[in-house]
Symmetry: D2
Subunit: 339 residues, 4 copies
């Protein structure tokens, strides 16, 4: 057997831990050998639970570690672009969580650096692309199963968090569309064959969290995007769902349509009782996309090992950011904005 | 236009009223002109709500009424057979509610009388055959849609009535299989092409209503019936469902299967809230088969007017009774019983 | 019993015939006594199938008929407003098919005339309000079942008609939003408690029927409407669905959401075979709303007879038109339009 | 960290390979260190794909290997009992695939040996107990979610294999109930609180594979089992489903019911096209229970490491065999058989 890929991870918050556990225990042909975090408890976790001895709070030292082939960056959004650049320049393959950046210029800088390192993999974490159902749907469309796709309706709707944690977070998230809809934007592009977006219009409302007003953000947002060639997309993002996390996407073509994720069932149990005939919904993104996170890491490892083509490009991240920013501008201006 | 059919109805309890209202207001080519009941309030209802002036407590007078072409009998089960015979002998088309009788001999007597009056329609109320979904399923099977059908699973499950009304009724109902499963038995025969039943086995339990024990009855019953040629049927009847009335049937063939009624949705509303993603179930037989009751009367009228063939025969009722009785014997003997 | 309402119908095309049959055979307390049509075959139909002897091609004569209490107008859209006014001035209750008019001025003229005849009922045919599921949903919202509703997503999507019949019709339909979405607009207003619409934005595409371009129409249209107080609505209309007619509405509130019509099941049959686990979809509006058309006529009759309050007002029609026109303007201008 | 459990596997056919891959790559705290098979290709696979160097065709040598703490036996059914005994006597924890044996005596012999080795884990592969949905359902019942459970309906239905491979296999499988329904029997006992079975009745038919007749086997079988205390179970097993593998279980209690697995959806994709609104079904047991196989191994490892109680006992396997044999006798005798 070829040597396993040696990976280091930076950032061991909730999502970082998920990736780290998948790398340590759920992925073939990989060794998790290094971890980096400014938080001592996270480094302790890496030692105790992941069996990683090479831990450091120093990101530069982490990058210079000659024992890693690749790094996985699950750090704050504001650091994504520069850390990705630094990692590429240190000769590491990079997996970086989405969004790549909150502005197009930074995305393009990363693309430019990556272009100078064609042998290195640089992949952004659009995890939904690795969900088995989304992959089935994409394959079906590629085979012509629904004729020519021309409309995507896609949503990311979170269960309401009464603590309103995300309200404080709104200052840095880039707003609901950059934080949530960027996945839907990426999916729409993927399913529609990557047409060029032309313009975007958004509206929204604050249904439950008035604290968002000062960030010009909303807790329920709607957007329409026009693409060249006539395709259209409608996005919906919500922070206030009562029953669970409901992420779903519909692709409509000239010969049929596909729906992914409708009903948001947690499992295969249906209860019939005094409350009706009912099923539980998944509670959050993590529960919905547990398998996809695992397959995402497997895909990253396989790409780094040269066993498959990159499942997505840095430019996909740039374009999703470009569209997300136009939507966000429209939410504020009230006018359709060019993408 | 041909003259409308002139109909009299005997029995205006809950089900009788339903038929009467359908005849008075929801069916074409028919006039409800007479009513018969020993209950004065029911006769008053006929006058006031149905506009029927010709009302009487005297069944013989009701039958002799020269202004009726046909009668609809919604009287106690113990009277069905003799009243049907009397009506045929009075020259009336007859619609009689199920079951035709609680023993095979009486069924056969009615068949013999009907055979002497071939111009008269005699139809038993297996209402489920008139449900649009059951009709779709039957038509699909007839076209070969599921290959050769060989197994039916069918159930009639009522929402629990905490008052236990049916416990007292058990003395006269013939037991859970004669009362509830007779519909499923008829459907199984219909869907399977009317093969001859050979033997039946039953088991059951009293989950909530101990008062049934003295009638050798159960509140949850199961039965397997073997038919000539290899077809099989499984029946389930319950009095104790928590969420509503759930009547469903599945027909399994060599090239596919059909399910009718699964989920028992009351309407097209789905609620997503703290109780999950859910829909209400229909509350009872009346709610589930409202349309079928209407179509049943329309079919009876059309048959009497010579516009269509009889949708079912008296022999269908005889055979359903024969099978239901074998199942009931098996419940008591614990052994498979010949049909 | 109080006297039945005596009704005349004008227009016996496909939809007119549906209303006429419901009035003649499926509705209590009403007599269909007169019919009007410029088409001789329709008058023949009224005599032969509806038993209506009083038929005429002359609309004025039809209105002057002293034997009618009410008229049902299923005539071309361009005549709705003036005929409604004439009928009111002739002292008749009026049911008129939607849309009331293709401009707000005409709607308001009808409102003004109706205001001068407060004893006469004037009702516009927003049939979906009479569907049992929509009524359940509305009642549930009124009871606070989903908290405060703030977002409606609603669609009217027709199965593709390869003949492209509607393309020629586009010259007079007012466009896809006036023709299809006007129902969704009315429902959104109803479910949200009739907030005032402020602005509308639309986009659309021609996926299959290029002939629409010359009418500035599309075969798939999307719109976002902002209401005062923060509520929002998203509409989708399509002429090109592959599998059937899919009319659905979702109302999202602070404590839950309701979905009506998702899945568009034709009946209660599920087939499992080589094509998967599947159900048929309703084929068109008529199949989906058969019951609602019946209940709509019953509601009109009951309102005219003073047995219930009017289920909707002329102003509902005016407001739906106002919003539909703003959406249509936006489709053409590419900019959000004030309502 | 505590030392990982060192495991050897015997048998690397389709199911053995699944377990081996899960042990090698998908389970924490375990090392797959040895493999045993009479088939050279399977030993080569163990070296090349699993990285196991300690391979042998000699089962005794495999058991004597001092470097293993536990063995996983995925060998022919006829060897299960004796190999389990030998492994226990060699001081190894044992996981053995179901069924433990095709007769009760052999099961009891294994139980007796295990009783003499109370520190060793002996676990039989009732994989469905490790499925997340079955676990949710069981937990819900344990909390009283459906009141007192009294009826289980459970089925194992395979997609038809036109090659009829299983026909030849029927000579050794113990028949359809021992091969397929044994899972349903175990689940029924688990969900009902392990009541004692009293009697069993079976019927069946050969719908598509006449070659089964000479083995007194059927391709569609039905059974009813009576338990002490009034609980009942109905089982259905089929080899001839047209659309996929459909494993489902329903538990009915006095306050509600749970259904697990209905619809058999392969993923979260729904297609709407000319074939209707539809989803694909899982194709086989492996696809349906992929996650459960993984969780099963994790549970075995955790039990061996003393981190949890054994999820099931050898006696569970004995009782399932006892019931399965009574059902099989009934299929042949046509009479209810004591369990």
């Amino acid at each position: 057997m070829k040597q396993p890929l040696r990976v280091g991870i930076a950032g061991l918050g909730r999502l970082g831990r998920r990736h780290a556990l998948n790398l340590a225990h759920g992925t073939r042909h990989v060794q998790l050998v290094a971890a980096c975090s400014p938080v001592q408890a996270e480094l302790d976790f890496a030692r105790a639970e992941l069996g990683v001895n090479n831990v450091t709070p120093d990101f530069d030292a982490f990058l210079r570690n000659p024992q890693t082939d690749a790094v996985v960056l699950v750090t704050p959004t504001s650091l994504h672009a520069e850390q990705t650049i630094a990692a590429l320049e240190a000769g590491k393959h990079v997996f970086v969580e989405k969004p790549l950046a909150l502005n197009v210029e930074d995305c393009e800088k990363v693309e430019a650096v990556a272009a100078r390192h064609p042998r290195l993999v640089a992949m952004v974490g659009f995890v939904r692309r690795f969900d088995a159902s989304y992959q089935q749907a994409h394959a079906n469309i590629a085979e012509g199963g629904i004729g020519k796709p021309f409309l995507v309706r896609s949503q990311t709707c979170d269960m309401n968090d009464p603590s309103g944690f995300f309200v404080g977070y709104a200052a840095h998230s880039g707003g609901i569309f950059m934080d949530c809809s960027v996945h839907d934007i990426d999916l729409a592009r993927w399913m529609l064959g990557k047409p060029k977006a032309q313009r975007a219009y958004a509206s929204g409302t604050i249904a439950m969290h008035p604290g968002l007003a000062k960030y010009q953000d909303v807790d329920n947002g709607l957007a329409i995007v026009d693409f060249e060639g006539g395709a259209r997309a409608v996005f919906y993002a919500s922070r206030t769902f009562a029953h669970g996390h409901e992420t779903q996407t519909e692709i409509i073509g000239t010969a049929g349509k596909l729906q992914i994720g409708h009903g948001a069932a947690r499992d295969r149990v249906v209860t019939s009782d005094a409350h009706g005939v009912r099923h539980a919904a998944v509670s959050d993104f993590f529960e919905r996309f547990g398998d996809a996170f695992q397959r995402e890491m497997a895909a990253f490892v396989a790409t780094c090992r040269g066993e498959r083509e990159a499942p997505l490009t840095l430019n996909d991240a740039t374009e999703a950011t470009r569209i997300g920013l136009a939507i966000t501008r429209s939410l504020r201006s009230g006018m359709p904005e060019p993408v």
